[in-house]
């Protein structure tokens, strides 16, 4: 649950509870006030009736309105007269319903005789009034709650905006992306503190990462010269004619190994350079031209394996890439497709504006797509391979936001590069 939703819900439940309680309290207070008013009115009438009684000759008076109704009973007949104010109900013949009344019972003396007098006041109108006030009040309260809620949400949202922005940026943070990591400034101190700490942290990490990469690059770079010396010395040794076959083979094997080492080192260096984005220049690349060129230079390999190349090219596809990287990318995939092809197999190259796909015949090796693009992942069937071809492909794809994927279907190994891949 989002923090904002949570605070909003808390706020809503508390205000609802408080306002409900307040409304109920308000109702009773209102009720009490109205009763008081009616009581006062009844008191007034009481004194007027007492005065009337004092000057009246006859007590027979029957008004049509219940409000005017006065019941006067001789005290003897009343055993325990209800004194003071009470609520009561009368049946209204015209409206056919019970109507609440407020009654006042009091004792009045007349000619030294005591009478029990009851006077009434209808509560119907005041009740209606109370209900209406109550309703309006409730509606107003809800309106206030809603307005408050909206304002609170809105203000919190703007306050939390920086926080969400930070979260979003951290989520998309990629140490390899080489984009500057910047965060919004906030009026809220806590968020500013958080951003400051995060910025300092990423800077430290980036610095460490950069120096590590630099070290890797320098190390492989420095290795090149001694490797060159080893290679040349062994080559010189191999040129000498006074070696027997045994010695010769031993040197040749060592020479092969050091050759492999230097090749591995070169490839690692290339990978490090790609990772360090040392190929910044881009120009418009037509994949089909690069691929045609590569196919041409690998013609003899294709022929010797009797591979049938099927080209399905859209020739208007243009991508912005570094020419050297584009060459490496497609060359690696083509070589891969040739190397792992069957004799007399097929190599299908499909170019569209969305993707480039290399498919080659082969048996299902149950390859793991995740591992396939890892460094030094090798199949037991090709122990001589360096195992850096596909990682390089993946790295180059990462730089340009492409996605490379592997699948096996219909006895074809498919390597597909999606150009317009958006990170989900």
């Amino acid at each position: 649950m989002k923090l904002l939703t949570k605070t909003s819900l808390n706020y809503l439940s508390v205000t609802l509870f408080v306002f409900m309680f307040a409304v109920i309290l308000f109702y009773f207070l209102l009720r009490h006030q109205v009763n008081q008013n009616i009581n006062i009115e009844l008191e007034k009438r009481k004194s007027s009736i007492t005065n009337q009684l004092l000057s009246a000759h006859s007590s027979v008076y029957t008004p049509p309105n219940q409000n005017e109704k006065v019941i006067i009973t001789a005290m003897k007949a009343v055993h325990s007269p209800l004194l003071s104010f009470y609520d009561t109900l009368f049946y209204d013949n015209t409206a056919h319903k019970y109507i609440p009344f407020r009654q006042l019972g009091f004792i009045a003396s007349f000619n030294n005789e005591k009478f029990y007098v009851q006077i009434f006041k209808s509560l119907e109108e005041t009740d209606n009034l109370i209900v209406r006030i109550f309703m309006i009040m409730t509606a107003l309260v809800f309106l206030i709650i809603i307005i408050l809620l909206i304002t609170v949400r809105h203000t919190s949202l703007s306050a939390w905006n920086v926080f969400y922005d930070t979260i979003n940026k951290i989520n998309n943070y990629d140490i390899n992306s080489h984009n500057e990591f910047s965060l919004k400034t906030s009026e809220v101190k806590e968020f500013d503190d958080l951003n400051r700490v995060l910025l300092a942290m990423t800077q430290r990490i980036e610095k460490g990462y950069a120096s590590m990469k630099e070290y890797t690059e320098n190390a492989s770079h420095e290795l090149q010269t001694p490797l060159a010396i080893i290679n040349l010395k062994m080559e010189t040794l191999l040129q000498s004619s006074n070696l027997d076959e045994n010695q010769f083979t031993v040197i040749a094997e060592a020479y092969e190994a050091s050759n492999r080492l230097s090749k591995l080192n070169k490839t690692l260096l290339l990978l490090a350079k790609i990772e360090n984005r040392q190929f910044p220049d881009s120009s418009a690349i037509l994949p089909h031209i690069v691929i045609e060129h590569q196919l041409e230079s690998l013609e003899d390999l294709i022929e010797s394996k009797q591979i049938k190349v099927i080209k399905q090219f859209e020739t208007n596809v243009v991508r912005l890439m570094n020419p050297y990287l584009a060459e490496i990318l497609f060359a690696n995939l083509i070589k891969n497709a040739i190397r792992h092809n069957l004799k007399g197999g097929e190599l299908i190259i499909h170019i569209t504006s969305q993707f480039v796909c290399f498919s080659n015949s082969g048996t299902d090796l149950g390859l793991d797509e995740d591992k396939l693009f890892e460094r030094f992942y090798k199949l037991s069937t090709s122990p001589e391979s360096i195992g850096l071809g596909l990682p390089i492909v993946k790295k180059i794809c990462e730089i340009y936001g492409f996605k490379v994927s592997y699948s096996f279907a219909n006895n074809l190994h498919n390597f597909k590069i999606d150009f317009d891949f958006k990170e989900q």
């Binding site: 770079h221 090149q224 010269t225 490797l227 060159a228 010396i229 080893i230 290679n231 040349l232 010395k233 080559e235 010189t236 191999l238 040129q239 076959e245 010769f248 083979t249 040749a252 020479y255 092969e256 050759n259 492999r260 230097s262 090749k263 070169k266 490839t267 260096l269 290339l270 350079k273 040392q278 190929f279 230079s297 690998l298 003899d300 390999l301 010797s304 050297y324 490496i328 060359a331 690696n332 070589k335 190397r339 090709s382 001589e384 391979s385 360096i386 071809g389």
Partner: protein
């Protein structure tokens, strides 16, 4: 061919000089920037092999100096830096080739030979080895004056062999020459074998002597 090697790594230089002298070149070696400037001012060389990173200066400055003095020397850069920018810069200021360390001596030698042909014969030279005659510009090959049709790779192989005749050429050296850097060795050896087999049979068919010798499965030698 008179060659100047400028390389601060003495043991590297020794191997290069040894190989080239053995192949009949005249070689001089210097180990720093100042000595090389002196040599260049005083003598004429057919080709200068220069390392970019020297202890007291940049090999690129040496190249600029050679080019300014309008000497016709060919220039080959040997560098541990394998980046496109370095290559482009080196070739831009007038170098003929850029070799990345570690390289094969046969490769360097083949480049030297091709520079030699370009400088001294305007590229019109014929390469003649006993009964074999090559026309580099036309990519034509004649054995006993009969033309032999070779594929591009077979032709490249033959030129490489003749450039490094009587030398052992390792398989990896051949593979790198034919397919460049990013070729897995194990695969390419089979193809080398096929190409050499085809080349040999085409040459033998026209009455050429069997020059291509296998050396203990390590490499090949072009020799009688």
């Amino acid at each position: 061919m008179k060659i100047l090697i400028i390389e601060d790594e003495k043991s590297l230089t020794d191997s290069i000089v040894g190989y080239l002298v053995d192949d009949g070149h005249v070689c001089e070696a210097v180990y720093n920037y100042n000595d090389s400037i002196e040599k260049i001012e005083l003598y004429e060389y057919d080709c200068i092999v220069v390392d970019i990173n020297l202890p007291d200066g940049s090999g690129l400055d040496i190249i600029r100096r050679v080019k300014r003095s309008s000497k016709s020397s060919g220039i080959i850069i040997i560098s541990a830096r394998n980046s496109l920018e370095n290559k482009i810069e080196g070739l831009d200021i007038g170098a003929d080739h850029y070799l990345t360390k570690p390289f094969h001596l046969a490769e360097l030698n083949a480049h030297l030979k091709s520079i030699n042909r370009r400088i001294n014969f305007n590229g019109n030279e014929q390469i003649i080895f006993n009964e074999i005659r090559l026309l580099p510009n036309e990519h034509q090959v004649f054995v006993c004056e009969k033309e032999v049709k070779l594929t591009k790779k077979e032709y490249e192989l033959l030129v490489f062999f003749i450039s490094n005749k009587k030398k052992l050429i390792t398989k990896s050296g051949l593979a790198e020459h034919l397919w460049g850097d990013y070729m897995d060795m194990a695969d390419s050896y089979d193809f080398i074998y096929t190409h050499i087999k085809n080349l040999r049979s085409k040459l033998l068919k026209e009455g050429c002597a069997d020059y291509i010798k296998t050396v203990y499965g390590v490499g090949y030698k072009f020799d009688l």
